[in-house]
């Protein structure tokens, strides 16, 4: 009898764990399935390259893809060096209990929790108005850079911290300077972590809507410079779904392109990180 009730409890626990895992998987599959179902029929090379017509109901997303690429590029070009420098400062030049280091980490944690709409308003006030950049791809990219910096810095810092202290000690014991240790030993060893940080930042930047509405604007023309306003994929989806009657089919297809891009970047980054690790640890 006792054995039976124990079996029931075990089975119950197993079912519960499987159930929770399934409840996570089902919405994900549903979402992807729904996007494919509604978005796939319109997807073609022409859709990816063409200009949007009739407020986006017809035509494609060529300029929107270009604007998104430019905004994300500006964001990463600005965020990467600052992020890498700050992460190096935190992991290699400050101790855990260092006052300034603690201040920076605290600020980053607060910034990571700030809603994106607040970043949007800040970007609008600072980049668009105070610096006079107006609604532009540059303003949007810079605002996104502020937004992804906290997550980028913390991930890269962790990847530097994950490198064994023995490596630093043995480099110092060989009379190798700190600068060279960072450049020649720590940096190559931290590449996989660096990539993960970039991908997390890139993912957040590409999927961002609220921060861009106030900074890079709505214009769906092909941008001619970084000072032009440009519409990002996520804003295009938002606009088609909420403001344009009959825009749903193209909204679905655009969302499919966005999710496809994010998944591709993710897979590519894992592949590179994997390749890098294998290259350094196993015979080639």
């Amino acid at each position: 009898m006792r054995l039976l009730s124990k079996t029931i409890r075990e089975t119950g626990a197993t079912l519960l764990v499987w159930g929770t895992a399934t409840s996570i998987t089902i919405p994900f599959l549903w979402l992807i399935g729904d996007l494919l179902w509604h978005g796939w029929p319109q997807l073609s090379l022409n859709f990816v390259l063409a200009l949007p017509h009739n407020a986006g109901r017809e035509g494609g997303i060529g300029p929107i893809l270009v604007s998104t690429g430019l905004i994300v590029s500006v964001c990463m070009v600005v965020a990467l060096p600052i992020g890498l420098g700050t992460a190096l400062f935190l992991s290699e030049y400050t101790r855990n209990n260092h006052m300034y280091g603690r201040l920076i980490r605290g600020s980053l944690d607060v910034l990571a929790g700030v809603p994106s709409i607040v970043f949007g308003l800040f970007g609008n006030a600072f980049f668009c108005q105070t610096l006079g950049l107006g609604f532009s791809i540059l303003s949007g990219g810079l605002t996104l850079a502020c937004m992804v910096l906290p997550i980028l810095i913390r991930t890269v810092e962790e990847s530097f911290r994950a490198i064994s202290q023995d490596q630093r000690l043995s480099a110092a014991a060989l009379g190798i300077s700190k600068r060279a240790t960072i450049l020649l030993i720590l940096f190559p060893a931290a590449i996989p972590g660096l990539l993960v940080g970039c991908i997390l930042g890139l993912g957040r930047a590409m999927a961002e809507t609220a921060a861009l509405i106030f900074t890079s604007g709505y214009v769906d023309r092909m941008p001619e410079s970084l000072m032009d306003s440009g519409r990002a994929l996520s804003i295009h989806i938002y606009d088609l779904a909420m403001n344009v009657a009959g825009g749903n089919p193209n909204a679905y297809t655009t969302a499919l392109v966005l999710v496809g891009l994010l998944l591709t970047i993710n897979l590519f980054a894992s592949w590179i990180a994997d390749k890098w690790t294998t290259l350094n640890q196993l015979p080639t």
């Binding site: 000690l169 480099a171 060989l174 190798i176 030993i185 350094n280 640890q281 196993l282 080639t284």
Partner: protein, 289 residues
Amino acid sequence: MDYAESTPDIRQAQDHSPAIQSWPPYQSTQLCCEPTAHIRAKNLSIAYHKHSVLQNVDLEINKGCITALVGPSGCGKTSFLMSINRLTDLIPTCRVSGQLHMNEVDILAPTTNLLLLRRQIGMIFQKPTVFPFTIKKNLEIPLREHGIHPKTSLASTIETALQQVGLWDEVKDRLNHPAQALSGGQQQRLCLARALVLAPQILLLDEPCSALDPISSGVVEDLIVSLRGQYSVVIVTHNLAQARRISDHVALFWSVDGVGQLIETGSAQHMFESPQHELTAAYISGARG
């Protein structure tokens, strides 16, 4: 105590010489180390967070000799070793006071060029610490960093260093393979080659065999013995049999009231056969520690 019985004579097979029956095997031949001090520590004290770990150490390390630092854990042996190449500087709360000289160079002087000092004093750690790159790159990095990169002779410098540690024949066909794919003993020998490639005068070895299997440990030990006369070697070891087999001089450290002190120092023969201090006698015989 009969040393000949207690120490496995691993050199017997190597030397192709008649079995050495009496202890010590190496001191039965002529000593190749000089009786001149290469490193002199006077009143040396080390503290972490104001907590003293080593106090008033007076010790001379002779040129070309193998000096073993023995004693139980936590008595400041490794701290002493790390103060010689100023790696203690990397520990923010560590304070070293007293006098420490290498020949005429004041090691503890604030003006001492640490990169040059560490080039002359190589160090090997308990765990092999190869860099996560190829075997070749592991040796190239220190060479290039110190501006020793003769383009024509880089390959031959690397070959010489690998031959010196007996690794050349094992790795000559896979110099471009990751160093981490080597076995533990091979990695430790690569670390030694990486230190030797800079032509140091002194080698600090912090329990270099303790993380290795007995066979690899024997190979590394033979290697250390082969360095006698060319380098001044300071080795921290918990393996008394090893200290007995390889060292010319022994220094016993002990923790007295939580503070490390140098209890006794002298030639290996003196320390193992007629120790003066009762702690040494007890430690050597296995009654303490």
